[in-house]
Amino acid sequence: MNDAPLLSVDDLRTEIRTARGPLRAVDGVSFTVRPGEMFGIVGESGSGKSVLGRTVMGLYTSGPAMTVTGKVVLDGTDVHALDDAGRRRLWRSRVGMVFQDPGTALNPVKRVGRHLTEAMRGLSRAAARDRAEELLRLVGIPEPRRRLRQYPHELSGGMRQRVVIAVALAGEPSLLIADEPTTALDVTVQKQILDLLGRLQAELGTAIILISHDLAVVAGRADRVAVMYAGRLAELAPAGELFDSPRHPYTEALLASVPRLGDPPHSVLRTIDGAPPDMAAPPDGCRFAPRCRHASPACAAPPEFAADGARAVACHHPVDLGGA
Protein backbone atom coordinates (compact mmCIF):
# COMPACT_ATOMS: atom_id res chain seq x y z
CA MET A 1 0.00 0.00 0.00
CA ASN A 2 2.87 2.38 0.80
CA ASP A 3 5.68 3.39 -1.50
CA ALA A 4 8.68 1.16 -1.01
CA PRO A 5 10.79 2.81 1.67
CA LEU A 6 13.82 4.84 0.65
CA LEU A 7 15.50 4.12 3.96
CA SER A 8 14.86 1.32 6.37
CA VAL A 9 16.47 1.12 9.77
CA ASP A 10 16.08 -2.17 11.55
CA ASP A 11 16.93 -2.87 15.20
CA LEU A 12 19.86 -0.47 15.09
CA ARG A 13 22.16 -0.41 18.13
CA THR A 14 25.17 1.79 18.67
CA GLU A 15 27.20 0.91 21.73
CA ILE A 16 29.94 3.42 22.55
CA ARG A 17 32.87 2.31 24.70
CA THR A 18 33.43 4.81 27.49
CA ALA A 19 35.58 4.92 30.64
CA ARG A 20 32.48 4.08 32.64
CA GLY A 21 31.66 1.02 30.54
CA PRO A 22 29.64 0.47 27.38
CA LEU A 23 27.01 3.11 26.69
CA ARG A 24 24.08 2.12 24.50
CA ALA A 25 23.38 5.48 22.94
CA VAL A 26 21.05 3.87 20.38
CA ASP A 27 19.42 0.71 21.61
CA GLY A 28 17.17 -1.09 19.15
CA VAL A 29 15.68 1.55 16.88
CA SER A 30 13.58 0.67 13.83
CA PHE A 31 11.79 2.94 11.36
CA THR A 32 11.43 3.61 7.65
CA VAL A 33 11.50 6.78 5.60
CA ARG A 34 9.57 7.04 2.33
CA PRO A 35 10.88 8.81 -0.75
CA GLY A 36 10.24 12.53 -0.48
CA GLU A 37 9.04 12.31 3.09
CA MET A 38 9.90 14.75 5.91
CA PHE A 39 10.56 12.49 8.89
CA GLY A 40 10.99 14.17 12.28
CA ILE A 41 12.94 12.83 15.25
CA VAL A 42 12.46 14.65 18.57
CA GLY A 43 13.86 14.03 22.03
CA GLU A 44 15.69 15.78 24.84
CA SER A 45 19.43 16.19 24.93
CA GLY A 46 21.30 12.94 25.42
CA SER A 47 18.42 10.81 24.15
CA GLY A 48 20.58 9.57 21.25
CA LYS A 49 19.31 11.61 18.31
CA SER A 50 22.72 12.66 17.00
CA VAL A 51 24.27 9.23 17.45
CA LEU A 52 21.27 7.78 15.59
CA GLY A 53 21.68 10.29 12.76
CA ARG A 54 25.40 9.64 12.45
CA THR A 55 24.94 5.88 12.56
CA VAL A 56 22.27 5.99 9.87
CA MET A 57 24.59 8.15 7.82
CA GLY A 58 27.38 5.58 8.23
CA LEU A 59 29.62 8.10 10.01
CA TYR A 60 29.59 5.86 13.08
CA THR A 61 30.56 2.29 12.28
CA SER A 62 31.89 -0.67 14.25
CA GLY A 63 35.50 -0.21 15.31
CA PRO A 64 37.62 0.20 18.41
CA ALA A 65 35.44 3.03 19.79
CA MET A 66 32.04 1.50 19.25
CA THR A 67 29.97 -1.42 18.03
CA VAL A 68 27.11 -1.03 15.59
CA THR A 69 24.59 -3.80 15.01
CA GLY A 70 21.32 -3.92 13.09
CA LYS A 71 20.66 -2.78 9.57
CA VAL A 72 20.49 0.50 7.67
CA VAL A 73 19.33 -0.06 4.10
CA LEU A 74 19.25 2.90 1.74
CA ASP A 75 17.56 2.16 -1.55
CA GLY A 76 18.63 -1.47 -1.46
CA THR A 77 22.20 -0.82 -0.22
CA ASP A 78 23.19 -1.95 3.28
CA VAL A 79 25.19 1.06 4.53
CA HIS A 80 27.16 -0.86 7.15
CA ALA A 81 28.14 -3.65 4.75
CA LEU A 82 30.10 -1.17 2.59
CA ASP A 83 33.81 -0.46 2.93
CA ASP A 84 34.99 3.11 3.59
CA ALA A 85 35.33 3.97 -0.08
CA GLY A 86 31.88 2.61 -0.82
CA ARG A 87 30.41 4.64 1.99
CA ARG A 88 32.08 7.82 0.77
CA ARG A 89 30.65 7.20 -2.68
CA LEU A 90 27.23 6.70 -1.14
CA TRP A 91 27.39 10.02 0.74
CA ARG A 92 28.49 11.87 -2.31
CA SER A 93 25.70 10.50 -4.41
CA ARG A 94 22.77 9.69 -2.14
CA VAL A 95 22.87 11.24 1.33
CA GLY A 96 23.65 14.72 2.59
CA MET A 97 24.03 15.80 6.19
CA VAL A 98 23.51 19.17 7.89
CA PHE A 99 24.82 19.58 11.43
CA GLN A 100 23.72 21.83 14.26
CA ASP A 101 26.54 24.32 14.28
CA PRO A 102 26.97 26.11 10.95
CA GLY A 103 30.18 27.65 12.29
CA THR A 104 32.17 24.45 12.50
CA ALA A 105 30.67 22.65 9.50
CA LEU A 106 32.62 24.87 7.10
CA ASN A 107 36.38 25.14 6.79
CA PRO A 108 37.33 28.72 7.72
CA VAL A 109 40.18 28.92 5.19
CA LYS A 110 38.15 27.66 2.22
CA ARG A 111 35.98 29.93 0.13
CA VAL A 112 32.27 29.16 -0.20
CA GLY A 113 32.81 28.14 -3.84
CA ARG A 114 35.45 25.52 -2.96
CA HIS A 115 33.14 23.90 -0.40
CA LEU A 116 30.53 23.49 -3.10
CA THR A 117 32.67 22.36 -6.03
CA GLU A 118 34.55 19.81 -3.90
CA ALA A 119 31.25 18.12 -3.23
CA MET A 120 30.69 17.64 -6.99
CA ARG A 121 32.05 15.02 -9.34
CA GLY A 122 32.86 14.82 -13.01
CA LEU A 123 32.14 18.43 -13.93
CA SER A 124 34.46 20.84 -15.73
CA ARG A 125 35.60 23.82 -13.67
CA ALA A 126 33.25 26.19 -15.43
CA ALA A 127 30.31 23.81 -15.16
CA ALA A 128 31.04 23.25 -11.46
CA ARG A 129 31.12 27.01 -10.88
CA ASP A 130 27.79 27.48 -12.63
CA ARG A 131 26.31 24.64 -10.64
CA ALA A 132 27.68 26.14 -7.40
CA GLU A 133 26.04 29.45 -8.24
CA GLU A 134 22.79 27.69 -9.02
CA LEU A 135 22.91 25.86 -5.66
CA LEU A 136 23.40 29.12 -3.75
CA ARG A 137 20.46 30.61 -5.60
CA LEU A 138 18.42 27.52 -4.77
CA VAL A 139 19.00 27.98 -1.03
CA GLY A 140 18.04 31.64 -1.25
CA ILE A 141 21.41 33.41 -1.08
CA PRO A 142 21.33 36.79 -2.82
CA GLU A 143 24.23 37.75 -5.13
CA PRO A 144 25.49 34.15 -5.39
CA ARG A 145 28.37 34.99 -7.72
CA ARG A 146 29.90 37.35 -5.16
CA ARG A 147 29.27 34.95 -2.27
CA LEU A 148 31.20 32.16 -3.99
CA ARG A 149 34.40 34.12 -3.42
CA GLN A 150 33.72 34.84 0.26
CA TYR A 151 35.02 33.00 3.31
CA PRO A 152 32.62 31.51 5.90
CA HIS A 153 33.38 34.21 8.51
CA GLU A 154 32.10 36.84 6.10
CA LEU A 155 28.61 35.34 6.31
CA SER A 156 25.97 35.52 9.04
CA GLY A 157 24.91 32.37 10.90
CA GLY A 158 21.80 31.96 8.78
CA MET A 159 23.75 32.41 5.52
CA ARG A 160 26.34 29.87 6.66
CA GLN A 161 23.63 27.33 7.39
CA ARG A 162 22.25 27.93 3.88
CA VAL A 163 25.71 27.26 2.47
CA VAL A 164 25.96 24.05 4.51
CA ILE A 165 22.61 22.96 3.07
CA ALA A 166 23.77 23.86 -0.45
CA VAL A 167 26.91 21.72 0.07
CA ALA A 168 24.76 18.83 1.27
CA LEU A 169 22.60 19.19 -1.86
CA ALA A 170 25.54 19.30 -4.28
CA GLY A 171 25.43 15.57 -4.97
CA GLU A 172 21.64 15.68 -5.49
CA PRO A 173 20.97 13.38 -2.53
CA SER A 174 17.72 11.50 -2.22
CA LEU A 175 18.02 11.78 1.56
CA LEU A 176 19.10 14.75 3.67
CA ILE A 177 19.74 14.27 7.39
CA ALA A 178 19.45 17.59 9.23
CA ASP A 179 20.57 17.35 12.88
CA GLU A 180 19.27 20.41 14.78
CA PRO A 181 19.79 22.63 11.72
CA THR A 182 18.26 25.69 13.37
CA THR A 183 19.13 25.29 17.04
CA ALA A 184 21.91 27.89 16.93
CA LEU A 185 19.80 30.41 15.00
CA ASP A 186 17.32 33.17 15.83
CA VAL A 187 13.59 32.56 15.30
CA THR A 188 13.31 34.70 12.19
CA VAL A 189 16.30 32.93 10.61
CA GLN A 190 15.03 29.58 11.84
CA LYS A 191 11.79 30.15 9.96
CA GLN A 192 13.70 30.92 6.77
CA ILE A 193 15.78 27.73 7.04
CA LEU A 194 12.77 25.54 7.84
CA ASP A 195 10.85 27.09 4.93
CA LEU A 196 13.86 26.32 2.74
CA LEU A 197 13.93 22.66 3.82
CA GLY A 198 10.19 22.43 3.14
CA ARG A 199 10.71 23.89 -0.31
CA LEU A 200 13.52 21.45 -1.14
CA GLN A 201 11.32 18.57 -0.05
CA ALA A 202 8.43 19.82 -2.21
CA GLU A 203 10.40 20.92 -5.27
CA LEU A 204 13.26 18.40 -5.46
CA GLY A 205 11.48 15.52 -3.77
CA THR A 206 14.34 15.13 -1.32
CA ALA A 207 13.46 13.02 1.71
CA ILE A 208 14.53 14.77 4.90
CA ILE A 209 15.17 13.47 8.40
CA LEU A 210 14.70 16.52 10.61
CA ILE A 211 16.20 16.01 14.06
CA SER A 212 15.35 18.49 16.81
CA HIS A 213 14.91 18.83 20.55
CA ASP A 214 12.20 21.40 19.79
CA LEU A 215 8.80 19.81 19.31
CA ALA A 216 7.37 22.90 17.64
CA VAL A 217 10.08 22.94 14.98
CA VAL A 218 9.15 19.44 13.92
CA ALA A 219 5.39 19.72 14.50
CA GLY A 220 4.57 22.01 11.62
CA ARG A 221 6.93 20.52 9.05
CA ALA A 222 7.25 16.75 9.35
CA ASP A 223 4.92 14.18 7.81
CA ARG A 224 5.68 11.65 10.54
CA VAL A 225 7.47 12.10 13.84
CA ALA A 226 9.38 9.67 16.07
CA VAL A 227 9.91 10.52 19.75
CA MET A 228 13.16 9.25 21.22
CA TYR A 229 13.82 8.59 24.91
CA ALA A 230 16.98 7.08 26.39
CA GLY A 231 18.20 5.47 23.16
CA ARG A 232 14.86 4.04 22.06
CA LEU A 233 11.81 5.17 20.15
CA ALA A 234 8.92 5.80 22.51
CA GLU A 235 6.38 6.63 19.83
CA LEU A 236 6.00 7.14 16.10
CA ALA A 237 2.99 8.74 14.42
CA PRO A 238 1.83 11.13 11.71
CA ALA A 239 2.74 14.60 13.00
CA GLY A 240 -0.79 15.91 13.49
CA GLU A 241 -1.93 12.85 15.39
CA LEU A 242 1.16 12.81 17.59
CA PHE A 243 0.67 16.38 18.74
CA ASP A 244 -3.13 16.18 19.03
CA SER A 245 -3.30 12.84 20.78
CA PRO A 246 0.02 11.54 22.10
CA ARG A 247 -0.16 7.92 23.20
CA HIS A 248 3.13 7.53 25.07
CA PRO A 249 3.13 9.04 28.59
CA TYR A 250 6.51 10.64 27.84
CA THR A 251 5.24 12.35 24.68
CA GLU A 252 2.19 13.52 26.57
CA ALA A 253 4.24 14.96 29.44
CA LEU A 254 6.77 16.57 27.11
CA LEU A 255 4.04 18.37 25.16
CA ALA A 256 2.46 19.62 28.38
CA SER A 257 5.75 21.06 29.63
CA VAL A 258 6.17 23.48 26.71
CA PRO A 259 4.90 27.01 27.36
CA ARG A 260 2.47 28.14 24.67
CA LEU A 261 1.90 31.61 23.31
CA GLY A 262 -1.85 31.09 23.52
CA ASP A 263 -1.81 30.40 27.28
CA PRO A 264 -2.26 33.27 29.76
CA PRO A 265 0.87 34.61 31.51
CA HIS A 266 1.95 32.81 34.68
CA SER A 267 0.27 29.52 33.69
CA VAL A 268 1.74 26.68 35.71
CA LEU A 269 3.65 24.31 33.43
CA ARG A 270 3.50 20.57 33.82
CA THR A 271 6.83 19.06 34.70
CA ILE A 272 8.32 15.60 34.44
CA ASP A 273 9.80 14.62 37.79
CA GLY A 274 13.33 13.29 37.94
CA ALA A 275 15.83 13.13 35.10
CA PRO A 276 16.56 10.81 32.16
CA PRO A 277 18.44 7.63 33.11
CA ASP A 278 22.20 7.24 33.07
CA MET A 279 22.72 5.64 29.66
CA ALA A 280 25.61 3.54 30.95
CA ALA A 281 23.28 1.91 33.48
CA PRO A 282 19.68 2.31 32.29
CA PRO A 283 16.84 0.74 34.28
CA ASP A 284 15.56 -2.68 33.22
CA GLY A 285 12.12 -2.68 31.70
CA CYS A 286 10.60 0.57 30.50
CA ARG A 287 13.23 3.29 30.68
CA PHE A 288 10.65 5.92 31.45
CA ALA A 289 9.17 3.98 34.38
CA PRO A 290 10.93 5.90 37.22
CA ARG A 291 9.32 9.12 35.95
CA CYS A 292 6.01 7.78 34.65
CA ARG A 293 2.66 8.58 36.25
CA HIS A 294 1.08 5.49 34.68
CA ALA A 295 3.75 2.96 35.68
CA SER A 296 2.59 -0.40 37.00
CA PRO A 297 4.37 -3.67 37.90
CA ALA A 298 4.00 -4.71 34.24
CA CYS A 299 6.44 -1.93 33.31
CA ALA A 300 9.32 -3.88 34.84
CA ALA A 301 9.36 -5.74 31.51
CA PRO A 302 10.49 -3.72 28.48
CA PRO A 303 7.46 -2.71 26.39
CA GLU A 304 7.46 -3.73 22.75
CA PHE A 305 7.41 -1.04 20.07
CA ALA A 306 4.01 -2.14 18.82
CA ALA A 307 2.53 -0.90 15.57
CA ASP A 308 -1.14 0.03 15.37
CA GLY A 309 -2.06 1.23 11.89
CA ALA A 310 0.11 4.24 11.01
CA ARG A 311 1.22 4.66 14.62
CA ALA A 312 3.48 2.74 16.95
CA VAL A 313 4.04 3.10 20.67
CA ALA A 314 6.33 1.40 23.20
CA CYS A 315 4.19 1.36 26.33
CA HIS A 316 2.26 -1.17 28.42
CA HIS A 317 -0.42 1.40 29.24
CA PRO A 318 -0.68 3.86 26.36
CA VAL A 319 -2.71 7.01 26.89
CA ASP A 320 -6.25 6.59 25.57
CA LEU A 321 -6.90 8.19 22.23
CA GLY A 322 -8.83 11.41 22.71
CA GLY A 323 -8.72 10.84 26.47
CA ALA A 324 -6.50 12.17 29.25
Binding site: E44, G140, D195, G220, R221, P259, L261, P265, T271, I272
Partner: protein
Protein backbone atom coordinates in the same frame (compact mmCIF):
# COMPACT_ATOMS: atom_id res chain seq x y z
CA UNK B 1 22.17 60.32 21.66
CA UNK B 2 18.41 60.40 21.54
CA UNK B 3 16.65 57.63 23.41
CA UNK B 4 13.55 55.77 22.33
CA UNK B 5 11.35 57.76 24.69
CA UNK B 6 10.01 57.43 28.21
CA UNK B 7 6.21 57.52 27.94
CA UNK B 8 6.12 53.97 29.25
CA UNK B 9 7.80 54.86 32.55
CA UNK B 10 5.50 54.99 35.53
CA UNK B 11 5.45 57.20 38.56
CA UNK B 12 5.19 55.99 42.11
CA UNK B 13 6.73 53.01 43.78
CA UNK B 14 9.42 51.76 41.46
CA UNK B 15 12.02 49.29 42.67
CA UNK B 16 14.27 49.88 39.70
CA UNK B 17 14.30 52.62 37.12
CA UNK B 18 16.60 52.83 34.15
CA UNK B 19 16.71 55.88 31.91
CA UNK B 20 18.43 56.46 28.58
CA UNK B 21 20.84 53.59 29.09
CA UNK B 22 23.66 53.56 26.54
CA UNK B 23 26.24 50.80 26.18
CA UNK B 24 29.00 51.12 23.61
CA UNK B 25 32.11 49.05 23.07
CA UNK B 26 35.26 50.23 21.33
CA UNK B 27 35.77 48.25 18.09
CA UNK B 28 39.16 49.45 16.89
CA UNK B 29 40.03 52.19 14.38
CA UNK B 30 37.88 54.63 16.32
CA UNK B 31 34.73 52.66 15.64
CA UNK B 32 32.14 51.73 18.25
CA UNK B 33 29.66 48.91 18.69
CA UNK B 34 26.30 50.49 19.52
CA UNK B 35 25.04 47.66 21.71
CA UNK B 36 22.38 49.61 23.63
CA UNK B 37 21.34 53.06 22.42
CA UNK B 38 19.21 54.88 24.95
CA UNK B 39 16.68 52.49 26.42
CA UNK B 40 14.52 53.14 29.48
CA UNK B 41 12.44 50.86 31.65
CA UNK B 42 11.20 50.49 35.19
CA UNK B 43 10.12 47.75 37.52
CA UNK B 44 7.32 47.88 40.08
CA UNK B 45 7.41 45.95 43.32
CA UNK B 46 6.77 42.25 42.62
CA UNK B 47 6.62 42.80 38.85
CA UNK B 48 8.38 40.76 36.16
CA UNK B 49 9.54 42.58 33.04
CA UNK B 50 10.45 40.39 30.09
CA UNK B 51 13.06 41.62 27.62
CA UNK B 52 12.66 39.99 24.23
CA UNK B 53 14.78 40.22 21.10
CA UNK B 54 17.12 38.36 18.78
CA UNK B 55 20.76 37.58 19.25
CA UNK B 56 22.92 40.69 19.40
CA UNK B 57 20.12 43.18 20.05
CA UNK B 58 21.72 44.21 23.33
CA UNK B 59 19.72 42.29 25.94
CA UNK B 60 22.73 40.99 27.90
CA UNK B 61 24.61 44.27 27.54
CA UNK B 62 21.61 46.06 29.05
CA UNK B 63 21.32 43.53 31.88
CA UNK B 64 24.99 43.77 32.73
CA UNK B 65 24.94 47.58 32.58
CA UNK B 66 22.07 47.63 35.09
CA UNK B 67 24.28 45.51 37.38
CA UNK B 68 27.17 47.93 36.65
CA UNK B 69 29.18 45.00 35.28
CA UNK B 70 30.60 47.06 33.62
CA UNK B 71 28.79 50.39 34.22
CA UNK B 72 26.95 51.82 31.17
CA UNK B 73 28.53 54.33 28.81
CA UNK B 74 25.74 56.76 29.76
CA UNK B 75 22.36 56.79 31.44
CA UNK B 76 20.88 56.40 34.86
CA UNK B 77 20.18 53.26 36.92
CA UNK B 78 18.31 53.81 40.18
CA UNK B 79 17.68 51.00 42.64
CA UNK B 80 15.25 51.98 45.42
CA UNK B 81 15.88 55.56 44.40
CA UNK B 82 19.68 55.37 44.74
CA UNK B 83 21.68 56.21 41.62
CA UNK B 84 24.14 53.35 41.06
CA UNK B 85 26.18 54.83 38.23
CA UNK B 86 29.22 56.71 39.46
CA UNK B 87 29.25 55.11 42.91
CA UNK B 88 32.63 54.15 44.36
CA UNK B 89 33.19 50.35 44.47
CA UNK B 90 32.47 49.95 48.18
CA UNK B 91 29.31 52.05 48.04
CA UNK B 92 28.22 50.24 44.88
CA UNK B 93 28.60 46.84 46.56
CA UNK B 94 26.54 48.05 49.48
CA UNK B 95 23.72 49.54 47.40
CA UNK B 96 23.62 46.82 44.78
CA UNK B 97 23.26 43.94 47.19
CA UNK B 98 19.49 43.91 46.73
CA UNK B 99 19.99 42.97 43.07
CA UNK B 100 21.38 39.65 41.84
CA UNK B 101 22.04 38.34 38.33
CA UNK B 102 21.57 34.81 36.98
CA UNK B 103 23.19 33.79 33.71
CA UNK B 104 22.41 31.56 30.77
CA UNK B 105 25.11 28.95 31.18
CA UNK B 106 24.67 27.65 34.72
CA UNK B 107 27.62 25.26 34.53
CA UNK B 108 30.07 27.97 33.49
CA UNK B 109 28.70 30.32 36.14
CA UNK B 110 29.89 28.03 38.95
CA UNK B 111 33.49 27.50 40.06
CA UNK B 112 34.17 23.90 39.03
CA UNK B 113 36.46 23.19 41.98
CA UNK B 114 34.01 24.15 44.70
CA UNK B 115 31.35 22.02 46.31
CA UNK B 116 27.64 22.88 46.20
CA UNK B 117 27.44 23.82 49.89
CA UNK B 118 30.38 26.22 49.54
CA UNK B 119 29.03 27.68 46.31
CA UNK B 120 25.73 28.47 47.98
CA UNK B 121 27.44 29.87 51.10
CA UNK B 122 29.86 31.98 49.08
CA UNK B 123 27.92 35.25 48.84
CA UNK B 124 27.20 35.75 52.54
CA UNK B 125 30.70 34.45 53.38
CA UNK B 126 32.29 37.20 51.30
CA UNK B 127 30.29 39.72 53.32
CA UNK B 128 31.72 38.31 56.54
CA UNK B 129 30.40 35.25 58.31
CA UNK B 130 29.64 31.92 56.71
CA UNK B 131 25.94 31.12 57.07
CA UNK B 132 25.03 28.16 59.25
CA UNK B 133 24.24 24.76 57.84
CA UNK B 134 20.51 25.09 58.39
CA UNK B 135 20.33 28.19 56.23
CA UNK B 136 22.20 26.55 53.35
CA UNK B 137 19.96 23.49 53.59
CA UNK B 138 16.89 25.68 53.52
CA UNK B 139 18.14 27.49 50.41
CA UNK B 140 18.80 24.20 48.63
CA UNK B 141 15.41 22.85 49.62
CA UNK B 142 13.74 26.03 48.42
CA UNK B 143 15.02 25.35 44.91
CA UNK B 144 14.03 21.68 44.99
CA UNK B 145 17.43 20.13 45.66
CA UNK B 146 17.95 17.46 48.30
CA UNK B 147 20.71 18.89 50.53
CA UNK B 148 22.01 15.45 51.56
CA UNK B 149 22.45 14.38 47.92
CA UNK B 150 24.08 17.46 46.46
CA UNK B 151 25.92 18.89 49.49
CA UNK B 152 29.41 17.65 48.57
CA UNK B 153 29.06 17.52 44.80
CA UNK B 154 30.93 19.67 42.34
CA UNK B 155 29.23 21.34 39.35
CA UNK B 156 30.32 18.69 36.81
CA UNK B 157 28.53 16.07 38.90
CA UNK B 158 25.21 17.86 38.42
CA UNK B 159 22.89 18.21 35.43
CA UNK B 160 22.36 21.60 33.76
CA UNK B 161 19.01 22.01 35.51
CA UNK B 162 20.55 21.21 38.90
CA UNK B 163 23.35 23.72 38.27
CA UNK B 164 20.76 26.40 37.50
CA UNK B 165 18.98 25.55 40.77
CA UNK B 166 22.29 25.98 42.61
CA UNK B 167 22.76 29.38 40.93
CA UNK B 168 19.28 30.43 42.03
CA UNK B 169 19.84 29.17 45.59
CA UNK B 170 23.10 31.09 45.68
CA UNK B 171 21.43 34.30 44.58
CA UNK B 172 18.59 33.85 47.09
CA UNK B 173 21.07 33.52 49.98
CA UNK B 174 21.69 37.24 49.62
CA UNK B 175 18.01 38.13 50.15
CA UNK B 176 17.71 40.09 46.90
CA UNK B 177 14.67 42.19 46.04
CA UNK B 178 15.46 42.21 42.32
CA UNK B 179 16.68 39.36 40.09
CA UNK B 180 18.15 40.01 36.63
CA UNK B 181 17.87 36.72 34.75
CA UNK B 182 19.76 36.53 31.45
CA UNK B 183 18.41 33.61 29.41
CA UNK B 184 18.17 31.42 32.53
CA UNK B 185 16.49 28.50 30.73
CA UNK B 186 17.89 28.77 27.20
CA UNK B 187 20.42 25.98 27.63
CA UNK B 188 17.97 23.60 29.29
CA UNK B 189 15.71 20.88 27.92
CA UNK B 190 11.99 21.66 27.82
CA UNK B 191 11.07 19.42 30.74
CA UNK B 192 13.82 21.00 32.88
CA UNK B 193 12.91 24.44 31.59
CA UNK B 194 9.38 23.89 32.89
CA UNK B 195 10.74 22.97 36.33
CA UNK B 196 12.90 26.11 36.50
CA UNK B 197 10.13 28.41 35.21
CA UNK B 198 7.71 27.06 37.82
CA UNK B 199 10.41 27.44 40.48
CA UNK B 200 11.02 31.09 39.55
CA UNK B 201 7.30 31.79 39.53
CA UNK B 202 6.80 30.23 43.00
CA UNK B 203 9.89 31.77 44.54
CA UNK B 204 9.17 35.17 43.07
CA UNK B 205 5.66 35.17 44.47
CA UNK B 206 6.66 33.78 47.86
CA UNK B 207 9.45 36.30 48.39
CA UNK B 208 7.79 39.19 46.55
CA UNK B 209 10.72 39.53 44.14
CA UNK B 210 10.83 41.84 41.15
CA UNK B 211 12.47 40.34 38.08
CA UNK B 212 13.93 41.31 34.74
CA UNK B 213 13.72 38.18 32.60
CA UNK B 214 15.79 38.26 29.42
CA UNK B 215 15.11 35.66 26.73
CA UNK B 216 14.58 35.16 23.01
CA UNK B 217 11.75 32.59 23.27
CA UNK B 218 8.41 34.40 22.95
CA UNK B 219 6.30 31.81 24.74
CA UNK B 220 8.76 31.55 27.63
CA UNK B 221 8.89 35.33 28.09
CA UNK B 222 5.13 35.57 27.91
CA UNK B 223 4.76 32.82 30.50
CA UNK B 224 6.87 34.55 33.18
CA UNK B 225 6.27 38.24 32.52
CA UNK B 226 3.71 40.86 33.47
CA UNK B 227 5.06 43.31 30.94
CA UNK B 228 7.28 42.74 27.90
CA UNK B 229 9.80 45.07 26.28
CA UNK B 230 10.84 44.15 22.73
CA UNK B 231 14.32 45.26 21.63
CA UNK B 232 15.88 45.54 18.18
CA UNK B 233 19.48 46.57 17.56
CA UNK B 234 19.91 48.42 20.84
CA UNK B 235 16.52 50.19 20.79
CA UNK B 236 13.10 49.57 22.31
CA UNK B 237 10.38 48.81 19.74
CA UNK B 238 7.41 48.07 21.89
CA UNK B 239 6.34 47.76 25.52
CA UNK B 240 3.26 45.61 25.93
CA UNK B 241 1.33 43.85 28.69
CA UNK B 242 2.29 40.20 28.49
CA UNK B 243 -1.30 39.03 28.05
CA UNK B 244 -1.63 41.21 24.93
CA UNK B 245 1.55 40.00 23.20
CA UNK B 246 0.06 37.37 20.91
CA UNK B 247 -3.10 39.26 19.96
CA UNK B 248 -2.37 42.98 20.07
CA UNK B 249 1.30 43.58 19.23
CA UNK B 250 1.58 46.50 16.80
CA UNK B 251 5.26 47.00 15.99
CA UNK B 252 6.28 45.42 12.66
CA UNK B 253 9.28 43.77 14.35
CA UNK B 254 7.20 42.23 17.15
CA UNK B 255 4.87 40.97 14.46
CA UNK B 256 7.74 39.48 12.51
CA UNK B 257 8.84 37.63 15.64
CA UNK B 258 5.31 36.36 16.21
CA UNK B 259 5.04 35.20 12.59
CA UNK B 260 8.37 33.38 12.89
CA UNK B 261 7.58 31.11 15.82
CA UNK B 262 7.32 27.59 14.47
CA UNK B 263 3.75 27.14 15.68
CA UNK B 264 2.55 30.21 13.76
CA UNK B 265 0.53 29.52 10.60
CA UNK B 266 2.87 29.11 7.65
CA UNK B 267 2.93 30.86 4.32
CA UNK B 268 2.32 34.49 3.47
CA UNK B 269 4.97 37.02 2.60
CA UNK B 270 8.48 36.55 3.92
CA UNK B 271 9.10 39.86 5.61
CA UNK B 272 12.43 40.66 7.14
CA UNK B 273 14.40 38.18 5.09
CA UNK B 274 17.15 40.79 4.92
CA UNK B 275 20.12 40.59 7.22
CA UNK B 276 20.46 42.23 10.61
CA UNK B 277 22.41 45.48 10.04
CA UNK B 278 25.76 45.92 11.76
CA UNK B 279 25.70 47.48 15.24
CA UNK B 280 28.88 49.31 14.18
CA UNK B 281 26.88 51.42 11.77
CA UNK B 282 23.17 51.14 12.55
CA UNK B 283 20.64 52.57 10.06
CA UNK B 284 19.53 56.18 10.51
CA UNK B 285 16.06 56.93 11.80
CA UNK B 286 14.29 53.72 12.67
CA UNK B 287 16.84 50.94 12.98
CA UNK B 288 14.33 48.34 11.77
CA UNK B 289 13.65 50.12 8.49
CA UNK B 290 15.97 47.92 6.37
CA UNK B 291 13.74 44.93 7.13
CA UNK B 292 10.40 46.66 7.60
CA UNK B 293 7.53 46.14 5.14
CA UNK B 294 5.95 49.50 6.18
CA UNK B 295 9.09 51.66 5.92
CA UNK B 296 8.82 55.08 4.23
CA UNK B 297 11.19 58.05 3.75
CA UNK B 298 10.14 59.38 7.12
CA UNK B 299 11.52 56.23 8.77
CA UNK B 300 15.01 56.98 7.44
CA UNK B 301 14.89 60.60 8.55
CA UNK B 302 13.35 60.51 11.95
CA UNK B 303 13.71 58.13 14.83
CA UNK B 304 10.29 56.98 16.09
CA UNK B 305 9.64 57.58 19.79
CA UNK B 306 7.55 55.36 22.03
CA UNK B 307 3.93 56.53 22.09
CA UNK B 308 1.06 55.19 24.13
CA UNK B 309 -1.56 53.23 22.18
CA UNK B 310 -3.45 51.60 25.06
CA UNK B 311 -3.12 51.11 28.78
CA UNK B 312 0.43 49.91 29.41
CA UNK B 313 1.02 49.48 25.66
CA UNK B 314 3.60 51.69 23.92
CA UNK B 315 4.96 51.49 20.38
CA UNK B 316 7.95 53.17 18.74
CA UNK B 317 6.87 53.27 15.09
CA UNK B 318 5.76 56.01 12.71
CA UNK B 319 3.18 53.91 10.95
CA UNK B 320 1.97 51.05 13.15
CA UNK B 321 -1.71 51.30 14.00
CA UNK B 322 -4.33 48.85 15.10
Amino acid sequence: MAGTGTTHLRSGDRVLSVEDLVVEFPAGRGRRVHAVSGISFDLLDGETLGILGESGCGKSSAGRAVMQLPPPTAGSVRLHGTELTGLAPAALREHRKDMQMILQNPVAALNPRRRVADLVAEGPAVRGGRPDRARIEAALEAVGLDPATVWDRRPHELSGGQCQRVCIARALMLDPRVLILDEPVSSLDVSVQAQILNLLEDTGKRLGLSMVFIAHDLAVVKNVSDRIMVMYLGKVCEVIPSAALAGSALHPYTRLLLASVPEAPQGGAEPGAAELPSPLDPPSGCRFRTRCPLATDLCAKEEPKLRRTADGHHVACHHASR
